[in-house]
Symmetry: C2
Subunit: 355 residues, 2 copies
Amino acid sequence: MSAHRWEMVERGKPLVRVEFEPDAPDTKEVVVEVAGCGVCHTDLGFYYDGVRTKHPLPLTLGHEISGRVVSAGSSAADWQDKTVIIPAVIPCGSCDLCNRGHGTICREQKSPGIDMHGGFATHITVPSTGLCEIDLSRLADVGMQLADASVIADALTTPYQAVVQAEVEAGDLAVVIGVGGVGGYAVQLAHAKGATVVAIDVDQTKLDRLTEFGASMTINAREVQGRDVRDAIRQFAKDQNLRQTEWKIFECSGTASGQASAFGLLTYGACLSIVGFTMEKLEVRLSNLMAFHARALGNWGCLPEYYPEALELVLNGEVAMLPFIERHPLSKINEIFANAHDGKLTRRAILVPDE
Amino acid sequence: MSAHRWEMVERGKPLVRVEFEPDAPDTKEVVVEVAGCGVCHTDLGFYYDGVRTKHPLPLTLGHEISGRVVSAGSSAADWQDKTVIIPAVIPCGSCDLCNRGHGTICREQKSPGIDMHGGFATHITVPSTGLCEIDLSRLADVGMQLADASVIADALTTPYQAVVQAEVEAGDLAVVIGVGGVGGYAVQLAHAKGATVVAIDVDQTKLDRLTEFGASMTINAREVQGRDVRDAIRQFAKDQNLRQTEWKIFECSGTASGQASAFGLLTYGACLSIVGFTMEKLEVRLSNLMAFHARALGNWGCLPEYYPEALELVLNGEVAMLPFIERHPLSKINEIFANAHDGKLTRRAILVPDE
């Protein structure tokens, strides 16, 4: 098997192309020939900001992976030749936490590109636990290739789990702060679940695009700030005959300022979902959760059990991915990382093995 | 009907005894002859700290009330002569929020002593919605008088709702920070639901007393701080064969330092309940909720629907109240407020009409 991957050797130093022999699959493992791997903010955090990976360097990054199973262990033989999404967080599937349905906090969980070599490669060996099968003909019906589905592994499923946790339903008012690679899907997902969605970002282009994909109101956070944001949403809720209570707020910017805005939007019975991550702290009146009888929910990755539901929303056309992604050759990885870091990409990059 | 109440006329100025004629009950209202009314931290906040009541001054404080219905409106006739607890938060019972089970955020809710004249009185006229009937003979079986049950209205039911929301169950490790008038019951309630409970406070006397009432481990926050608290609980969990994940943390101190400690105890899958209130802000890494897939739940009052369950735990002896309360004559209200404010009371004071 001719295989190669791009390894991060040192923070900020060019990623290096390395030939390797894929690990033979263990009984429950599979080898996946990578169709595509999405470039996530988290990868950039490891590469540029020195966020530490759990597996020591050198390490192949990339945790949003789709592909075809080309080899399967004896207990995973059913997966042979199937086209799949690999979950970004792979619970062990057999510990006490997994057995009680808490796979996202499984202490034996593995993430490609963090705990093990990831998806910026031609091949990857992973546990078969939680693989999500994709029907290529249905995917083609919505104009997508297998590589495009890679992004489902994190950018789509992470906000999906947040939307499920927040119990978004028809009649809700949802507010999404930060509508980039993850938040944009939060907008679409909340809309698909029946909510009327307010999108907030500093990037007018992103906001404008989302008006065609689920956002009923947009707020440019450079122009409207502080209490005015709350007042604008209140007025919008009034005009739309929506509730002034129980807003479902999704913080997807992963910035302290976004979190401060999100916390400031708490209404009676509100649910604040913390989807984006930042190391930064912020000052809050935590007691507001009590005074408003509100709740703040964290969300780590997504249970593999939810992947088929999230995928279905893509396949039935309720969530559009094509306008928000673009494929690039894997061989251009260093250039794409730099462009992504410099904010030059307007769509999520998917790297496709090309040699 | 000869009736009087003690009114707060101005912040910090002596409460004044005023004769009054109880309002005749509306069709759905009742007049309750007060048996006792608990003195809560919230009352002291209004009286000493200038926290604003919703009803303008002069106002009778007191929202932990038990008594006997002496007059009932035509639609509330079934309540005539019954012995009851008046909920501290009385939802309207008929709005959209109430109909959907969200009475604690009902915008028409009323609290005695905040929205209307309260329980430091001989009589009070209140909606019959949510009244909780008490069987005096069962109460006597656990050595309690009707006046003693007043404290159930807030000090017991508020942490009860928090314990229900946090889904405390057998095998859980619960941590209660601040074990005064409210937190002490949080310890007993979490214990009654099957959790092993760690109690944290700065007052060794309170901690020592709780070892007989549900606390399996106590930590004096003056002696053990920061990471050492976490380490001590981790070691305790290990020794007790309890989980290192999903701790149920109850912040009942209503202080910024208590909240900071509570937030610092987040484990994977943890549930942090904000039970105590403070106006103070604090600095937190909100993203920890995401990294730990944890949640923070606010808790305002308690749904009247939960009162019978909470009361039952008292009647069946699972929660002890007598060691934590003491009755005083209502006529001593100014002295009792001062003593409570000065920290001279070791038990929750219940004021009983005496003239």
